[in-house]
């Protein structure tokens, strides 16, 4: 995967379902192989991102929490 395809979606400060909505909007323009990194502060995001991955069948590369945000790294693999 080329680093230039990595896109950061900053959804910090958005309440549910804002982060998942912004991810879905970015997903529409993404291609297979793209990597999306989402930053969120909504406490539901950690479980919601897993549900989104389960539904859309893309790949969750990393999910971690630092001091002030949840970071999810997703690889797009399920675009038709």
């Amino acid at each position: 995967m080329s680093e230039k395809e990595k896109k950061v979606i900053d959804a910090r400060g958005l309440s549910c379902p804002g982060p998942i909505t912004n991810l879905t909007k970015a997903y529409r323009n993404a291609k297979n192989g793209d990597v999306l990194e989402i930053w969120a502060t909504d406490p539901g995001f950690k479980s919601d991102i897993k549900a989104w991955i389960e539904r859309t069948k893309n790949e969750l590369v990393d999910l971690k929490e630092d001091k002030d945000k949840i970071i999810a790294v997703i690889k797009i693999t399920a675009k038709k």
């Binding site: 400060g13 958005l14 309440s15 998942i20 909505t21 859309t56």
Partner: protein, 133 residues
């Protein structure tokens, strides 16, 4: 694609908040979402919508709710429905209740896609999940 249908009956704003959240969230999850507005809720989807209404038993908690929504940066339920519609969610008004209340298609605001009968709703909802709010 999985489907979600929401029957929105209640006309109180506390119940319209989850309608917005669930509709927008379901659309973001890639679900095919339709909303069927009927009963008292119709008064909230007209060009001159009814002022906010709250259930009596929770009225004293409304300031706390509104303050919390603001603090959490949560959009209004109308804005959540607009966002949901930008992702393909359809909103229909119930033709019977619209007639009962003397409302015509042109009386509804831009959230409403069409005025339809219950058969259309049932046909669209078949095989999916349905919520009554």
């Amino acid at each position: 694609m999985s489907k979600l249908s929401i029957i929105v009956y209640s006309g109180t704003d506390d119940k319209l908040i989850p309608v917005g959240v669930i509709a927008q969230g379901a659309a973001a999850m890639g679900m095919d979402v339709q909303i069927f507005v009927t009963g008292w809720a119709l008064t909230k989807f007209t060009k001159k919508p009814a002022s906010p209404v709250w259930p009596k038993e929770f009225e004293n908690m409304v300031p706390l709710l509104m303050e919390g929504m603001k603090k959490n940066n949560a959009p209004s339920w109308v804005d959540m429905l607009k966002e949901a519609k930008s992702m393909g969610v359809k909103i229909y008004a119930c033709s019977l209740m619209a007639s009962v209340m003397g409302l015509k298609k042109e009386d509804f605001n831009e959230l409403v896609d069409d005025v339809v009968g219950v058969a259309t709703f049932l046909q669209n909802s078949e095989g999916g999940q349905t919520l009554f709010i």
